[in-house]
Amino acid sequence: MNYENEKIINCSEFENSLTDYLDKSLDSKNNKACAAHVLRCPICHDLLNSVKHSIVACGEIPAPKVSLSRLEAKILARTMPEFEMRCEEFEENLTNYLDGFLPATVFHRWERHAALCNSCENLPGEVVRSLATLVSFKSDEIALPEGLHNKILQQTIGTIEAKTKKASIFSQIDEWIRGLSIPITVPQLAPIAIMLAFAFFVITQTASADGSVSGVYQQSFELAQQTYKESSKIVLGDKLLINPASREPVQGTYVSEENKK
């Protein structure tokens, strides 16, 4: 190997070139000189390793975690203080927030207050834990005191032997009758029912003197029979012999003045 052209550097020169050496930005000659010096000098060798570890360690430091919502809340509080929420308003809207009923504008102001206010920041969590405690509390039912059941029976039906108290047949029938009802389940049918009742009333009052349905039919038959007889006599050329009495209108029907003549 030819060592005549090899450059030799001292510790000070190595330290000055250390960063360039690690960055591999030295020219070939100086790079070889640094490498040769590190091999020969244990102090600079240790220095090189220390610097390498430091660089790695610096790369592993996590970036500072900044709560963006808190930061954003701080910025907005500084720049738009008129939109800040008071603690009283924050508390008033707590249940609505938990229920998801807050409108968007109030929701964001509420959350900003929760992020910034030291006296309110723990309140939502406490209320939620309090509600969870109540859920556990209500599931722990208290046992009925001994004898309460019998006391109630004694005070209401007069005996603790409830099964011995039977319903009488009359009261059973009474309850059965009470249970019978014909409800009009569709209220819209009520006007129709009234109209039908009215129509029935009108028909029975105008067509039948006695007001009965059978009377209406009976008088209809009589009118039809009379009309048929008169028509058949005219067709057959018979003299129209009609008993004046028979021309009297059937009771309960209307006859115009012309027909009377």
Binding site: E91, E92, L94, T95, N96, N122, L123, G125, E126, V127, R129, S130, L131, T133, L134, S136, F137, K138, D140, E141, I142, A143, L144, P145, L148, H149, K151, I152, L153, Q155, T156, I157, T159, E161, A162, K163, T164, K165, K166, A167, S168, S171, Q172, D174, E175, R178, G179
Partner: protein
Amino acid sequence: MEASRVLATNEGVDLVRRCRAGDGAAWEEIVSTFSRRIFNLAYRFTSSTESAEDLTQEVFIRIYKTLEQYDSKHGDLANWLMRLARNLIIDDYRHRQRNPQNTYAEDVDDHTFHLRAVGGNAQNEIERRELAKQVQEAIDKLPTDLKTCVILRDIEEMSYQEIVDALNIPEGTVKSRINRGRIELAKILRRMRILSL
């Protein structure tokens, strides 16, 4: 003690019809179905076993006398009966608050928490009893209006509208009292060190 069972609508109607006719067994079934639930509700308001027991009896006497008024068209038996019970218990509670001399014992009864065992050892059971006692004490520290709304909403699980109907106050007032009651209860529980941060 068996837990309250759920009655079907037609089952409730049949029970009431039999009760009206004078059938003792039907009334006994109604008592055994609802007594535990009504007693527990009464206890939430009174914090005293004896008072809750007396109140439960009064409620059942009232129910027995008003069975004639029950109409299945207005809801099933459980709803009608619990609505009546709630109204009576709330009326009683409000009356006692207006007349402090009638107020039941201030301290929560030590002997009342015979909680249902749901597994676990004796130590857990003791801790559960102690916690239940402390929570009841915290509820008792709430102002009257807030306590009523918190019990009806968060323990009885009634809807806002049901509370409006039961208390006969506007919906906005109900919501506001529930909100304030929850916040106050959380603060009380924190001061009692029941809520861990």
